[in-house]
Amino acid sequence: MSDQVNLTIDGVELSVPNGTLVVDAAKMIENPIPVFCYHPKMAPVGMCRMCLVEIGLPVRDRNSGEPVLNDDGTPQVSFRGLQTACTVQVSEGMVVRTTTEVVTKAREDVIEFLLTSHPLDCPICDKGGECPLQNLTMEHGKGTSRMDYSLKMKLDKHVPLGELIYLDRERCIQCGRCVRFQEEIVDDPVIRFHNRGRSLEIVTMSDPGFDSYWSGNTTDICPVGALTTADFRFGARPWELTPVATLSPHCPSGANMTFSTRREAKSGGRSVIKRIMPRQNEPVNEIWISDRDRFVHHFADAPDRLKKPLMRKNGQLVEVEWGEALDAVAGKLQQSGTAVAGLSGDRVSNEDMFLFQKLFRQGLKSHNIDLANRRLAGGDVVAKVGISQGSNLLNLGQGDAIVVIASDLHEEVPVWWLRVKQAAQRGAELVILNLRPTRLDECSRNVIHYQPGQAIATLRQLVNDAKVAAADADNSPIKAAADVIMQANNVVAFYGAEGLTYAETDAVARLLANLLLIKNEEAYAGRPNNGLIPVWPHNNTQGAWDMGIHPALEPGYKPAAKPGMRANEVYAAAQTGALKALFLLAADPIGDGLMAGRGQLDFLVVQELFLTETAAQADVVLPAQSWAEREGTFTSGERRVQRYYPAIQPVGEARPDWQILAQIGERVGLEKPAFAASLVFRDLAKAVPQYKGMDYRALARVEKQWPDVGGDDLYYGGNAYENRVGLGMQWPAAAESGAVDHFEVADVDSELPGKVVVVRTAALFTPGTLINHTELLQARMAQPTLIIQAADAAKLQLAQGEKVMVEVAGRGVETAVRLSEDTPEGVALLRGVPYQAGLTELKVMG
């Protein structure tokens, strides 16, 4: 059978792939068939009956199988009643009619039925103005009602399905998109239909209600105003909102999002972020975002944001003008000679990081530049064997393999978890390596739980097994997993840092690289849909590597002639007095337990959004703009460079990080600062060879994406889906253009510090500087929890629910003990606490 099928829709001949649904074929030629229950990301169900059309098939002679022709030589077509365009697949010679009287009447009838139990409270409905039901009623409805209004149903209008999502029972048209999304897409079937007939209603089956990291997406796909977020509910009318494209400020997936902003009198005429919705980027996050991304924006206009520069005078931090603060910073840095260091957080933009390292390397002649909190190594490895340009996890399925080691993707990068899970559902084999069970295990036939401290040895074994023929090795699970990988057409490998030290993650990255470089016929590395993806802790850790926020690597991974101090050396030097001045960009090492205090430092400058613990001890505090107030670029873990845009006016006198850094640079003798982020990017694209060919215009390029969601027709609901301002650009890994040598892997000794080792595990809602400002999420925050098996707990005399103090990153944290037999022997998992690397000994204090 041919891959393409020819059919006619309303007289227009078209050819579409075999298996296409009639409704999609019509959408392709921009002859949309109205739908409510159908959604192109989910299997069709044919419930709402809105897409009824006439479908005819060519008549074939029973004996010969030949098409029967009319007198005029055209093929005879037989129509049989109305059929749902969403459930019927195209077939050769099919004729679809969508404009006949019968179809027009059917649409009118279905709309009339839907409206009989719909409250028509559009004037107070959040969806009013961007509502598929409203639009399709205007387009296909009768315009009059024959239903006696007194017969309307009266149902509850404020039903909390949880604290995040509210249901308006009257508005619900029972299309089931939300139920199917939770079950089919994200595998959290926590809402269901209940009852029957006109009493059919959505209920939540979980405690807490609607317990899913994805709940907000149901409000986007809801074709009516039945599901709304607690955040946006009654917050604004859609036509008052200005869409502004942005990116996730947390997530290394680079999830594309859109702010909806509105100027408000109560905010003094300032623009206010009313909500965040996903923006379509099929290779990145499709049209889904996690609830963290959706609700996180509240920090941007939090009242405790820093609004003016602060300087320490007579022991007190007092507000000063920018000029005074900048002069002071430049002067003090220069006075300190080379005993200066700059440490950056990994959430600021490429432009900021580029200028930060430039200030130190060129302005102050110091290579003492690093990330403040390095967790995951291997950026240099990723530059060589990272996932190739043009890859899309959506392309992975039957015959492909995905490796995930030392990461709980569901908690760390939910978008990647979703896409890996869906690849597995399409038939891809997952190889999961970790010391404890994670949610992806259920999608995998190759789960390897290594002993604490055995991550490197296990992975080394896997790589060695992959190099030998199937028959030459034992039949261990590791060998089986290695065979699965080597038999795959495409291999993508994710690696994280759970339970690993920084040095260990470096070994992991190199071992995985070697795995991807094994040559069968051709190595995996360098081919599309193959390569390494680091599960970076932040949205722009990749950018930090690219920009040279590294004591030994200059922008573009150029080795530094004379490497500077690493962050831990900087922290130590601050205590001994070997370091005089320290500049912290978007980092809080004192709050994170990395630095004991300002120690012997002469001068501490902190550039921040909030007065953090570190900032409170600083000599100068420079107020920076948040990502919502300015533009810039982030680079995702798949090395996709993407732009984000200013949505609200600056808070107080805060300035963009890059601008502050440029102004300090000018004061220490660098050239006059570029006056726009785009110009800084132009400079950095010259300095970073990998970014060649990129500029703000190229990054803003868009092309037509399929499925065709969003757009002004609001075909599938969700008015923020359409990506009008940029899909971003991936930079090529070295393996794509030439041979890459195997990596040397140092022997890393994993020390087992005690009988019971602590492993800090990630939770999506872990308290942090930014997310703490979202009040709505507070009830969902992961509480500090120590998860341990009953046997180990008994030895340590710990009981279920008991509150104990344990040491985390050098500080005592009160945790609640939870007994779980999923936890391996000799391991205690710590959830909901600040990051700490590797394995540490469980120390119960007091």
Partner: protein
């Protein structure tokens, strides 16, 4: 007869033994096809043909017995399960052998919890006697059968809704394709047959297809259990030869014995609430799948409800529409909203508050449900309205013009509550 020893003393399970020892599965299907047996649940689909749709490739397959008998005025399957469960079991096992299934589920409506006891006891007796289990009658054939009770929903008589319910999901039909023969229970090929249909299978095997065809008419062979109720002297289940007239059924001495109290006949529901009502002229029609076509109706599951001259047809229509509204699963829009709207309108008309316009809207709503619903239930729901309006328009007319005394209505009318 519900006891295994009695059933076996009367030739029970001989058909199964014959099948296991003498026929290939394909031959069994051929015999059933040749017999002309058609589904007794109402649709009248040829049973052998249905079995032949099951892919021949090895793999998990299922037979599901549809004992969700919920049509108004239908009470034949309950009697079969109560009085003659083994014949159903034997028929289901023959079907399982024919399609290569090893698992049979008997899906009974929730209200059968008590009646199902006999069936459950029969199952146990079969397991104890080695008739169910492994290597039945010393052959390679192994088969297990289970009883399952629904939660009491009319819609679960629809095969895909039944399968959804059996899987533990909400009892809602799915849009076909996929047909159960390809993707049924747990997405495996499945045959769903009515209880009575399967009870017809053992005699067909024992006596042959020709014998079966000698009963009834050419297009509708075999006997049929008719559930007779309403205003007749002798209501009950009657096994009749297909082709007998409705007149004989209502007035025949061995059957209904005439209208109760010597009153005049007014109308008849040939297939419970789901088939259009017919008038006296249809009494001469034969009880066959085709017999009522000229009268715009169908025999369905043959649940014949007789109404005498005292019946208020608007009241009858309201009762039936209330039923359909109550039983609508809510999955598709026209049925969910349309049945509700029809009931409200009918209620108003019946109460004497209706207008001419209400009557027009009622007719229009019923017409606009037709041809748009996901499953057949929605299509059935309009029959009571459209057929009573067609045949008894005067009664509606009188109601909307007001002032007319209510005809019967001694029974409480359901008041829409939700």
């Amino acid at each position: 007869m519900h006891k295994l020893e009695v059933y076996r003393a009367n030739g029970g399970y001989e058909a199964l033994q014959k099948v296991l020892n003498e026929y290939q599965p394909g031959e069994v299907i051929d015999i059933v096809k040749a017999s002309g047996l058609r589904g007794r649940g109402g649709a009248g689909f040829p049973t052998g043909l249905k079995w032949s749709f099951i892919p021949k490739a090895p793999g998990e397959k299922y037979i599901v017995v549809n004992s969700d008998e919920s049509e108004m005025g239908t009470f034949k399957d309950r009697e079969l399960l109560e009085k003659n469960p083994h014949q159903v079991i034997e028929g289901a096992m023959i079907a399982a052998y024919a399609i290569g299934a090893k698992q049979i589920y008997n899906y009974m409506r929730g209200e059968f919890m008590g009646i199902g006891q006999h069936f459950e006891e029969a199952l146990k007796a079969c397991y104890d006697a080695g008739i169910l289990g492994d290597n039945i009658f010393g052959t390679d054939f192994s088969c297990r059968m289970y009883g399952y009770y629904g939660a009491g929903a009319y819609i679960c008589g629809e095969e895909t809704a039944l399968l959804s319910s059996l899987q533990g999901d909400l009892g809602q039909p799915w849009s076909k394709p996929p047909f159960p023969a390809i993707e049924g229970l747990y997405k495996k090929p499945t045959v769903v047959n009515n209880t009575e249909t399967l009870a017809n299978v053992p005699p067909i095997i024992t006596n042959g297809a020709d014998w079966y065809k000698s009963i009834g008419t050419a297009q509708s062979p075999g006997p049929k259990i008719v559930c007779l109720s309403g205003h007749v002297n002798n209501p009950g289940n009657y096994e009749v030869e297909m082709g007998m007239t409705f007149h004989e059924l209502v007035y025949g001495e061995n059957y209904g014995g005439g209208i109760r109290g010597g009153k005049k006949f007014k109308a008849l529901l040939p297939s419970g609430g789901s088939g259009p009502v017919v008038k006296e002229d249809a009494l001469k029609a034969p009880i066959t799948y085709e017999g009522l076509t000229p009268y715009g109706s169908t025999v369905g599951s043959a649940s014949v409800v007789v109404m005498d001259e005292t019946t208020d047809m608007v009241w009858a229509a309201l009762k039936m529409v209330h039923f359909f509204k109550h039983e609508s699963c809510g999955k598709c829009t026209p049925c969910r909203e349309g049945t509700f709207w029809m009931e409200r309108l009918l209620h108003r008309i019946y109460e004497g508050h209706g207008t001419e316009q209400d009557l027009e809207v009622l007719q229009s709503v019923a017409t606009q449900i037709k041809g748009k619903t996901l499953c057949a239930l929605g299509e059935f729901a309009v029959n009571p309205v459209l057929s009573t309006i067609r045949h008894f328009f005067d009664e509606y007319k009188a109601k909307v013009q007001g002032g007319q005394k209510k005809v019967a209505a001694k029974t409480a009318v359901p008041t829409p509550t939700d």
